[in-house]
């Protein structure tokens, strides 16, 4: 009989403790993010697809078309071209295509670039209905961004 009342009182008490917890949560700020309207700032070491780094003065890509990233890529998803131009030292990048469908984000391209011309971007909203959506023209992207 005493167990009956003990259980009754402790049970009722635990119910009120439960209400206290949810009641406290009710007045605390929300923790969810309204995703399409708000975006998470990605962490510094997040690996998105690669992007070209612009030269701070000219805004042109820092790339010198040495082709090391292309060679280093185990999935063969980078293709780039360059040309010699009058009055410009070294080669000028004319085409830089990343086939993101086969990229595994291993980072060999970023590792092998001695000129610090490519880095991982922070883009993650990449869903698309067609395969062609994932063939990125990185020069075009750089121009759109600046």
């Amino acid at each position: 009989m005493s167990g009956y009342f003990k259980e009754l009182i402790s049970g009722t008490k635990s119910l009120f403790i439960g209400l206290g917890i949810t009641g406290k949560y009710f007045f605390e700020p929300v923790v969810t993010m309204q995703y399409p309207m708000e975006h998470v700032e990605m962490t510094p070491r997040f690996r998105g697809h690669i992007e070209l780094i612009p030269d701070e003065e000219t805004g042109e890509p820092k790339c010198v078309v040495c082709g090391m990233c292309q060679k280093g890529c185990p999935s063969k998803c980078i293709s780039l071209e360059g040309e010699k131009r009058e009055g410009v030292k070294g080669k000028v990048l004319t085409k830089y295509i990343l086939n993101f469908t086969t990229c595994s984000l291993c980072g060999q391209c970023v590792e092998s670039c001695k000129f610090g011309a490519i880095r991982f971007s922070k883009d993650y909203n990449l869903a698309g209905p067609r395969k062609e959506d994932f063939i990125f023209d990185l020069i075009k992207r750089l121009k759109e961004k600046s």
């Binding site: 439960g18 949810t22 949560y25 009710f26 007045f27 700020p29 929300v30 923790v31 969810t32 309204q34």
Partner: protein, 338 residues
Amino acid sequence: MPEPFRVILFIIFVMAFAGLNAAYLVWCERKGAGHIQRRIGPKEVGPFGLLQPIADGIKLMTKQLFLPKGADPLLFMAAPLMVMVPAIMSFMVIPFSETFVAREVNIGLLMIFAFASVNVLGLLLGGWGSGNKYAVIAAARCVSQNIAYEIPMLVTTITMVMVTNTMNLNEIVRAQAGWFFHWHIFRLDISLLMPVAFLIFFVCSLAETNRAPFDMAEAESELIAGAYTEYPGMGFGVFFMGEYANIVIGCALSVILFLGGWQSPIPFHPVGFLGVIWGLFWFLTKLYALIFTVIWIRWTYPRTQFYELLNLSWKVLIPISLFNLILTALQIKIFPWL
């Protein structure tokens, strides 16, 4: 005010009150659930999602009404009405303020309980008429649950009738005039177990209206949607409205019996029209505080197991409410000085 005009006005008011409550309590429920789980809840339709109930209503109304194979057409169609209509009828005797009551019936309390028992019948017929095994299981559960919880609820009500000597809801409220410690829940001089009686009544009203954690009638994770499984569109909508109207009735009864109804916590009551507003304000404040508690409870506790539910009623609520009845009788008749 001429009588027919008054009646029509009250019918419109009661229907609008029940309908708006059903619509906006769903919104409150979703907002409450959201904030308790630290989300926002509906926010897209209108400011703060305030137009969400209208969108939901339109969605439910545009859905096709069809009769499942093997269902009993008459029972299937009548069941939602049997849940909705008694709930609306019960509003007729609820005193919103001293003079703001559709009909001051002498046996108002009895009338509400008479109509409340039709509610169960509606769920039973709905489950049975659907010809669906989940619905039938839910209906059977619902009936045994309601039988179990009607007893402590009525015993507690009898205690309150014994205390106030009347079944007129307005008289019960008038008996609690004065300071807030004149409300029945604080009247330990009448019965030492008054707060416990309030708890029993509140828990029973949760179970009677099939609210979580006693929502056996629509145990989604076990029985699809329980008795509502086969109901399309507005058939389900009417059930839903009936459920929320019943919650309002249950909370209103708790407020009237224990929390002083339209009485303010201080002994101050203006006369005339201002008095009506003053009473209405206090009644609705207490009512919605209690309804918020109902929502709060739903998002705090998990659903009870079915036998635990019956254990709670038969082993705890009924013995204690019976003990409370005897104790109150003793305190009133034999030890009136206590």
